[in-house]
Amino acid sequence: MKWATRANIHIDRAACAWLIRRHIDADAEFVFIADPAEVPADATPFDMRGVELGHHQGDCSFETILRHYQLDDPVLWRIAQIIHEADLDDERYDAPEAPGLDVVLRGLSMICTDEKTLAITGPIFDGLYEFHRHATLLGREPA
């Protein structure tokens, strides 16, 4: 399937792309567009104004996608808290990782194409998932 989002991606879009590829559509193909009017007819738009998979009721797009596809994995919801705070910084959740992750993504967006940012952040989110999967199983932070 084809998925479309705004070019020059930051934390929420990078995390959504990872989520889509890992948990929704393994063959996902991403297109990055400058203007909402450029969304290809066969693509599902995300993290853009006025689309279903965007910000709603104070949620970031990552949370919206989890809800929309009924992904109830608690590890993904823990990551959602981090993405929410990195993106919106509204202190709804306690996510001390968020400011650091946000800076890393903002820095990457200065030196990388969107494709390269996705390639680099894929393993970062995989690692974040694994860390929090262990933490959930152990009931405490893994070593």
Partner: protein, 167 residues
């Protein structure tokens, strides 16, 4: 943060023009809080501005959507102030608002200087979080910023025990 491409030429600003129904008041208050948190400059009733960059543009885009969801009207504009004086007035108003926030932090930190170490460290943690919040909406840093940082850093420094001082 560089806002103007050339000296003497006004930079780019992102404007949100909006109207929210008076009732229900909850979305109205939520949106007002979000705008306040972003440190927007109020140009007139229903018209606010921030220096344009990827982050400010994105935050205002989502707030515009939220206003539409709440049954209001909202549009986003990218604009240059017509004169450097207009831009300077906006920037000065924003810097003055931040300066007042920094001054409050400095006062709180200074007032606690004589307290015991546990109380000082706990206050330092809270004030550092507060400073981070202010930094996120500080687009034209006033001199008070460094003073507040120094006052909070001083709180976190251990006070030498007078009895251990060499005589």
């Amino acid at each position: 943060m560089v806002r103007t491409s050339r000296p003497g030429v006004p930079g780019e600003w992102v404007l949100l023009s909006y109207r929210i129904p008076r009732e229900p008041s909850t979305p109205r208050i939520t949106i007002w809080r979000k705008l306040k948190r972003l440190g927007v400059a109020q140009i007139s009733d229903g018209l606010i501005a921030l220096p344009a960059d990827a982050r400010t543009r994105e935050h205002l885009d989502w707030i515009a959507d939220e206003i539409l969801d709440a049954g209001g009207s909202a549009s986003i504009w990218i604009a240059h102030p017509g004169t450097t004086a207009t831009e300077r007035d906006l920037a000065t108003a924003m810097a003055t608002a931040r300066a007042a926030e920094y001054t409050k932090v400095t006062a709180e930190a200074t007032a606690a200087a004589g307290r015991d170490e546990t109380a000082r460290l706990s206050l330092a943690r809270r004030l550092r979080a507060e400073l981070r919040r202010i930094h996120r909406r500080d687009y034209f840093p006033p001199a008070e910023r460094d003073q507040a940082t120094a006052a909070v850093d001083a709180l976190a420094q251990p006070i030498p025990d007078p009895e251990e001082q060499p005589s």
